[in-house]
């Protein structure tokens, strides 16, 4: 293609992501977004104006060299595109799928001021998928330093940190409490949003290139304590995430049919409950399901439930049922990504905004039969800047449900703090760590991701893992002291 003028670039419309039809996809767990073709990707890449001072890069928590990789992509030099990508991002096939680009790179794109931003996320995914299939640019390992690092937790923060330290020439051991690596990418985010083959592909690729040792079934705090690790390793990074679920403090939370989003999603995603009894772990398929909360985890729970119902209906020839999303604020305050809300809506979720559960009602055999709720209205903005919900007196009503999934956020798992004297925690249970370096209050221990910030995004955890890896690298090289 001949070099286009800026004017010509501006005329190209943003390319839609081809998606599975909503009616189709409700009945399967296959990926919803099908990915760009090479032709579409190159055409989309032509839209980039190659800004001298690229704002998109500033919006990226790991500072991906966006104009460079896009330029290589549109010139058809995929190997070069991968190289540029991997300067800053080791896991592009994952980030391209789950990052909230609309508030990060794409949110900053200059094209977005008057029209639609470059579809940076979709291009990133295209490059990532190309590399997973072709493996053109194995991550290079620097000469061995002889230093040993333990990385605890193999989710986004730990993986990123481990890969960067591996590239730096250090001997890295990655500890994972579950039976496979990936953390929330595997147990939390569903197959139809992030196929597990992509997660395993990215992990295996990096691990093979860099000789990272993964130890699964190791629960730090129990199998080894942090102090045990410090005896054997020169540095320890904690990327243990925020895995402890919260429950509402209302009557009835222990009834059969009430579960945390973590339990529901783990049954479905990690344990493949939707394939029961081919896989051993069952998951209950409710006829009338209420998911409480409106974050990304709530959306994932809603969409998994819709699929379970559709699969069950196809199997038994019955009606599929209802999935409600119950949220105490209004649509404007929904914290989930707009795209997730849109997808959930297409797939048939029923939104119950300005509704708050007061009690879960039990019926036969201690099972859920309904929820007593109250209608809310919005008052003055609270500390978070969102208008706070106020109950409307006398508006109580009963909602008939048989399953309640609580997606109310999570906090860090306390196990890692067992026998870890000096590792300070906030009153929210998060580890105290420097935001730039990731250094905790305990010498030779770094932390980053949700264990420090509380539940946040995959990419912010990756950013924290990356910053900590840089500081650990300097420390191990003797360029800084503790």
């Amino acid at each position: 293609m001949a070099e286009l003028t800026q004017k010509e670039r501006l005329k190209i419309k943003r390319h839609e992501m081809p998606n599975q039809d909503p009616r189709e996809r409700r009945g399967n767990y296959d990926e919803v977004a099908l990915g760009y073709s090479e032709a579409t990707a190159r055409e989309e890449a032509e839209r980039c104006l190659q800004c001298k001072d690229p704002k998109c890069v500033q919006g990226c928590p790991v500072g991906v060299l966006i104009p460079q990789f896009i330029k290589a992509l549109r010139e058809g030099d995929m190997v070069k595109a991968v190289e540029w990508m991997k300067v800053k991002n080791n896991l592009p096939a994952i980030c391209g799928r789950v990052c909230p680009q609309e508030t990060q790179c794409e949110g900053n794109c200059i094209l977005g001021k008057k029209g639609e931003p470059v579809a940076i996320g979709r291009l990133e995914r295209f490059v990532g998928d190309f590399e997973l299939a072709g493996r053109t640019c194995p991550l290079a390992k620097a000469p061995a330093t002889g230093k040993k690092v333990a990385v605890v937790g193999s989710g986004p923060a730990g993986l990123t940190c481990a890969v960067d330290l591996g590239r730096g020439g250090h001997t890295v051991t990655l500890f994972e409490s579950l039976h496979g690596p990936g953390g929330v990418l595997v147990y939390g985010i569903p197959e139809f949003r992030l196929p597990k083959s992509v997660v395993h592909g990215e992990i295996n690729y990096a691990v093979e290139c860099l000789g990272i040792d993964i130890k699964v079934d190791h629960v730090i705090g129990r199998t080894f304590t942090l102090d045990d690790l410090l005896e054997e390793y020169d540095a320890v990074f904690l990327g243990t995430g925020a895995g402890l679920p919260s429950f509402m403090r209302i009557p009835g939370i222990n009834l059969n049919g009430v579960m945390s989003a973590n339990e529901f999603l783990t049954r479905v995603n990690l344990m493949k409950g939707y394939l029961f009894p081919r896989y051993d772990t069952p998951v209950k398929v409710g006829k009338k399901v209420a998911v409480i909360g409106a974050g990304n985890v709530a959306m994932d729970s809603v969409r998994c439930n819709l699929r379970l119902q559709a699969l069950e209906a196809a199997k038994t020839g019955t009606n599929s049922g209802e999935v409600h999303m119950v949220y105490r604020r209004s649509r404007e305050e929904v914290p989930a990504r707009a795209e997730e809300v849109h997808h959930a809506e297409e797939e048939g979720v029923i939104f119950d905004f300005l509704t708050n559960p007061l009690e879960i009602l039990g019926g036969e055999k201690g099972a859920v039969r309904g929820m007593r709720c109250i209608r809310m209205k919005l008052g003055e903005p609270d500390k978070s800047g969102r208008r706070s919900p106020i109950p409307i007196e006398g508006s109580e009503f009963e909602m008939e449900v048989d399953t309640v999934v609580m997606a109310l956020g999570t906090s860090p798992n306390p196990l890692v703090f067992v026998e870890a004297e000096g590792l300070e925690r906030t009153k929210h249970g998060t580890a105290v760590a420097d935001t730039e370096t990731g250094r905790t209050k305990k010498p030779r221990v770094w932390a980053g991701g949700d264990v420090v910030t509380g539940a946040a995004t995959v990419i912010s955890a990756m950013g924290a893992g990356k910053r900590a890896a840089a500081d650990i690298h300097k420390f191990l090289k003797g360029e800084t002291t503790w």
């Binding site: 080894f224 222990n254 339990e263 029961f276 069952p282 196990l415």
Partner: protein, 287 residues
Amino acid sequence: MYKILKKQVLSGVIKLMDVHAPHVAKKAKAGQFVIVRIDDRGERIPLTIADFDRDAGSITIIFQEVGKSTMQLGRIEPGGELSSFAGPLGHPTEIKKYGSVVCVGGGVGVAPIYPIARSLKEAGNRVISIIGARSKDLLFWEEKMRAVSDELIVCTDDGSHGRKTLVTEPLKEVLADKDKNVARVWAIGPAIMMKFVSLATRPYQVPTTVSLNTIMIDGTGMCGGCRVLLDDGARFVCVDGPEFDAHKVNWESLLSRLQFYRKEEQLAVEQWRHTCRLEGVSGEGGK
């Protein structure tokens, strides 16, 4: 992968295995549990640690074949391997010198009560043990229990061995005996047995500890599926337990939660038996 070093059939459906898992054996203590996964499609099964050998790097598990996974586990022979073996999980038993203590083990619960009784004995307690099962062929480790107890009472529901009674009867007699001056009771067994032990000790106000085995997935505090209602709120069995003050446990809630997946459990067993028939082997080993 974790190799099975030894297998012993304790009764038709109760089996013992020593599993090579040095990372777990190194830290294991009485009262803790492990999560076992047989293969890539397997569920995560919580099993209490029955014994451990730090030198051999092995953990002893004992299980009763009650569902598909335990039946499948029971068919694996020494030399075979398990996909996952994580632990030790949960808090260990608080072992110290209490004076006179009673250890009650019912059915397969004799396995986890054994290391507790042994540790209590080693800590200088006078240990009275009561073990029971539905019938003689379901009873195991009588001699091992006798070796770590100052007094051992054996009972079966059908009277085929020892006294014909439930474990709660001799327990009440021991509690009523002022000379015995029982300071503390531990009970591990079916939930219904632990409930009745709790009811038996309550009037005597003897602190009673039970080890709960609820439905669990990860075993590390992540899913909350194991939550149990105490009189001051919900707790997670995996990270807050597995031992709890029996007098605080809401037994009705616990018993009903244990039944929640009954239909799915039955379906899995039917499918398993069907597969086994196709393969021409017995689903339940040892018979």
